[in-house]
Amino acid sequence: MKRRLTRMLAGAMALLAAPVLALDVVATSPSMGALVRAVAPDAQLTVLAGPDRDLHSLQAKPSMIRALRGADLLVAVGAELEMGWLPAASASAANARILPGREGYFEAAAQVPLLDVGGPADRAMGDVHPAGNPHVDLDPVRMAQVAEALGARMARLDAANAARYRANAERFGAAVGQRLPQWQAELANAPGAVLYHRDAVYLLDRFGVPLLGTLEPVPGVPPSGRDLRALAGKLGGREGVIIHAPYQSPKGPRKLGQALGWPVETLPLSPPEDADGDGYLRHIDRWVSALGKA
């Protein structure tokens, strides 16, 4: 009886104290937000961009700076994806804890091996990033690794809840592991996909789905009519699916889809902004079923 009362009391206190103790976390994208929710469901979370906006072309806004001002941890996709606005916003936030190189700055891309690394640093090839393709968040296995690293980082920042963060990260990893065979089975014979930008290559690479081409001839340059005709000529007679993000112009994908008779899917790179770990897995489900559609 006595113990139960003490526990209840402690629980009540913990609830009351939670807002004070919870980590103040800022995530740049909803997929990073989903990861934060998976690892630290109690964290006070601000997500800076919605899934319908291009994370590469945002502008630093006062509201971002305000959110970063008091943050304990900034979770970014990284590898220069947010470089147009995040350094400006985090420098203006006057919060040394979340600056790159500090404990409070976490970059998902720095935790996992990257694709598309190297290559010429020549912008005749478009908006290239020789450090590697930053869009790691569509690979569930890499995200499981990122979650583990995030759990370790949160454990450092908030030692009192260290065990919980680690356990949550492991639980997320296990959930990914559980879904993996099903996704593999679904995509075993997927004929391949045409993307608008090389933003889903990690997912394709993970499941061995061939990337049949990208609509933009080089990163950051929209396709011309001639590009589309060339692509259609190359891919004629094959099967596949065309996938583009909501902020990418639908005109090119539609044209190519008509020319090839392929389905065209509009899919955000990130899950809905209120997604947690399960929401992220459902988001991968959507991508997998779109890729398997062809």
Binding site: M13, A60, A163, F207
Partner: protein, 560 residues
Amino acid sequence: MNQSLTRGALLGALLTPATAVTADDADIDALRAELAAMRSQYESRIQALESRLHDTEQAAEAARRAANADALSLPMTAPRVLRSQGQASAQVPAGSRSAGLFDAVTAGAAFNPQISVILDGNYYQDDTKDGNGAALVGEAFQAGGGHGHDHGHDHGGGDDGHDHGGHAHAVAENGFNFREAEISFSATVDPYFDAATYISIDGDGNVELEEAYFQTRSLPYGLRVKGGKFLSGFGYANSQHPHQWDFVDQNLPYLNLLGFHGLQDTGVQVTWLPELPIYTLLGAEALQGNQEVFGATLDATEQAELNLGDTDSGPRLFTAFAKIAPEIGRNHALQLGISYAHATQQQAVQEHTHAVHEHDHEHEAEHGAEHAHADEHAHAEHHDDVHDHGDGITEELHRAGLAGDADLWGIDLVYKYDAPGADGRGDITVQTEYLRSSKDLTVRSSAHPERIGSNRTFTTDGLYAQATYGFLPKWKAGLRYDVLGLTNKVSGGRSDSFGSSERWTADVTWSLSEFSQLRAQYAYNDILIGEDDHGEARERFSAFYLQFLMSLGSHGAHEF
């Protein structure tokens, strides 16, 4: 039990934030055991996951190899896996990835500063008689005169036909112009400072240090200190470099009340970002006061000639500003700012000419009223006071020296909408500012001795309002209205009020990529160039620009 309950409650209440769970040792042990069990369980699951992963990867690799055999299935650029899961620890990744705990991936070389070069050139055409419309918009008539003759701040040019009092900014002439190559370096110095340098080279090769400053990184309480030469945080447009403007040229109030460079000075800035539910930034600056217009002082020769006294030791320019940005949704941003600047020393020279017919010298009495001619620049080279026109008319140049201090107020409002459309389609920006400059001066020297000691307060204000809209992916249209001299008056020992200058500007900007922009701009200008007893002198003209902006090097920051 009662006692222990009270004890527990007390303890709990006392220790709430620190240790919410004050369980006994048995509980802790149980938890530990539970955790250990969980850990081993998950470790085995992770191992299973990893081995499954390994299998998948091999399958994927095989599939890719098979796919690659067929040329058609080749991706445009094959995804290259530099590090496969198995070798992850063995290989060094490309790019610079710090070896420390809190990694970041960047393409920048480890210790080199970020370097970027912006090229800014244009083709310009206006329909003024002399083709000097681009200079005229910066010399709109103000009650107190515009630019001081700060010969100490020489831009080195002087042969471009638009020399005014030693300034030779890259003002567009009809035809091709290269405005500037702006070279910038920025880097983190150490854990305590960031630093940046912006150097501008104009088409004639004149080099100017636009900004060179350090800024703190790790001060507590939301404080930041900036020191060096920098663009003041006054207003909104002031801290933007020309290539960041939505239009080719600067708006009329900034150009005429603050000068070509705006408030760009050497000094110290402190800003404070308190931790509040809405964005609030407070800032203050102490600056040397080496200004061209607001807070300008004259050179030593003129100071002696006009009995103005020496330039005070600095700092002579102080500013304070506040910005507030309410939360209006993630894709919208609204910022309201108010700014104030005070120049402890302001000097001005007023010049006017008397056309005197030799046979009716008494006619001069008619010109007893002090004229504030805007054509002071045109007369800057007239160092002798009397000119004989050779036709029996003598022109006398009267110069009056004034000294005092000056105040400047500014209000700014900026709204931006980030639309879901591709490449800026549907994006909206609205930006407006109001500036009011008031110079409180005393006549220190004059050809009319009775005026010495008399007070003159010159007040000129201005306003611009501009909006842009992304009407197609990568295409943006802009419209601007700017006006100078809604109030344009002198009060004190003399009272007079003058007209205003205004302009309508429309432009279209095509951003081919993030790194290149082409812009076409048309403006209709109605510029007041002088006003006296005989009426207003105005220049009404059209001006057309074609501009290119090229950005080389590292990604520019999309500052708000």
